[in-house]
């Protein structure tokens, strides 16, 4: 149980961020985080440490999120929750050295909304890479797909985001 507490302490934010970004529903995301911790506890003895603990718990979380999203297809739930920064459980960490004339917070919210419109596989890739700042290798472990697939999903996601946020420039 001590190991589980440590897991929660070290990776709870990453798990919650992934679940929240994927599901865009606070209650469902919290449920996924708890279930992921339970599964990690149960699967703990079988953990071989090939990709590291973070990749492993994020893989469990991502799988649970995908299950929920698949179920939503049948229950016709909405993929778009309310504006993310309304929730006190969400933390905004500004990028250092950003152009002060631009409203970084508003842009982050707009970007989040654009990410939410992406297909699930692309959204997942963008969140792992750009929100949780994972390496490509760890993404392969977390998503269970080869490197080429990870890169193509990211490339397609970027095209879609550029199309959506076109006037932002690069």
């Amino acid at each position: 149980m001590a190991a589980l507490e440590q897991l929660h302490e070290r990776f709870g934010v990453a798990m919650a961020t992934l679940a929240r970004s994927m599901l865009r529903d606070a209650a469902e995301a919290q449920d996924v985080v708890e279930e992921a911790l339970v599964r990690a506890h149960e699967a703990g003895p079988g953990f071989r440490g090939e990709r590291g603990v973070r990749t492993w718990v994020l893989r469990i979380t991502a799988n649970l999120c995908r299950d929920r999203l698949r179920r939503r297809k049948f229950t016709a739930g909405s993929l778009d929750g309310p504006a993310p920064l309304d929730d006190p459980a969400l933390r905004f960490d500004p990028v250092a050295g950003w152009d002060e004339s631009l409203d970084q917070r508003a842009m982050a919210v707009r970007l989040d909304q654009a990410i939410a419109k992406l297909p699930v596989d692309q959204r997942e890739a963008v969140i792992l890479r750009h929100r949780l700042e994972m390496s490509y290798e760890d993404m392969c472990g977390a998503l269970g797909v080869p490197l080429g697939t990870v890169k193509s999903r990211l490339a397609r996601a970027l095209v879609a985001l550029r199309a959506d946020l076109g006037d932002w420039g690069d």
Binding site: L4, G12, A16, H41, P94, L111, R129, R131
Partner: protein
């Protein structure tokens, strides 16, 4: 390749994706502990699978065997119709009833008008 921000092809605004993070709700670990307590022991779940499989296979074999033996006994009976008929007719057409008047209480004599002591 590993650093997210090394990729020159990525637009600068994509860095904003990393500005949003969610915190797990307070009391998460307490709820996780409660969930773990509610779950059946893992060994029980593991055991249930082969036991269930073996039980259903056993049930299938038993019902097949029982059905086959029923059919076999049915056909054995049907190839010996004379046995059943003769058992019913007692081989003399009496349907198992004795036709011997003396052995019947108040038998043939009762109808003859005679008085029996």
């Amino acid at each position: 390749m590993n650093s997210v921000h090394d990729d020159e092809q990525n637009p600068r605004w994509l860095r904003l994706a990393a500005t949003l993070h969610a915190e797990p709700a307070p009391g998460t670990m307490a709820r996780v502990r409660a969930r773990l307590e509610q779950r059946e022991p893992k060994w029980l779940i593991w055991l249930a699978r082969p036991v269930t499989l073996a039980a259903s296979a056993g049930l299938l074999v038993a019902s097949t065997w029982f059905g086959a033996s029923l059919v076999a006994s049915d056909s054995r009976d049907s190839v010996e119709p004379s046995t059943l008929a003769s058992a019913l007719l007692d081989d003399d057409g009496s349907f198992g009833l004795s036709l011997d008047g003396a052995s019947v209480p108040g038998g043939a004599g009762a109808d003859s008008g005679g008085v029996t002591p």
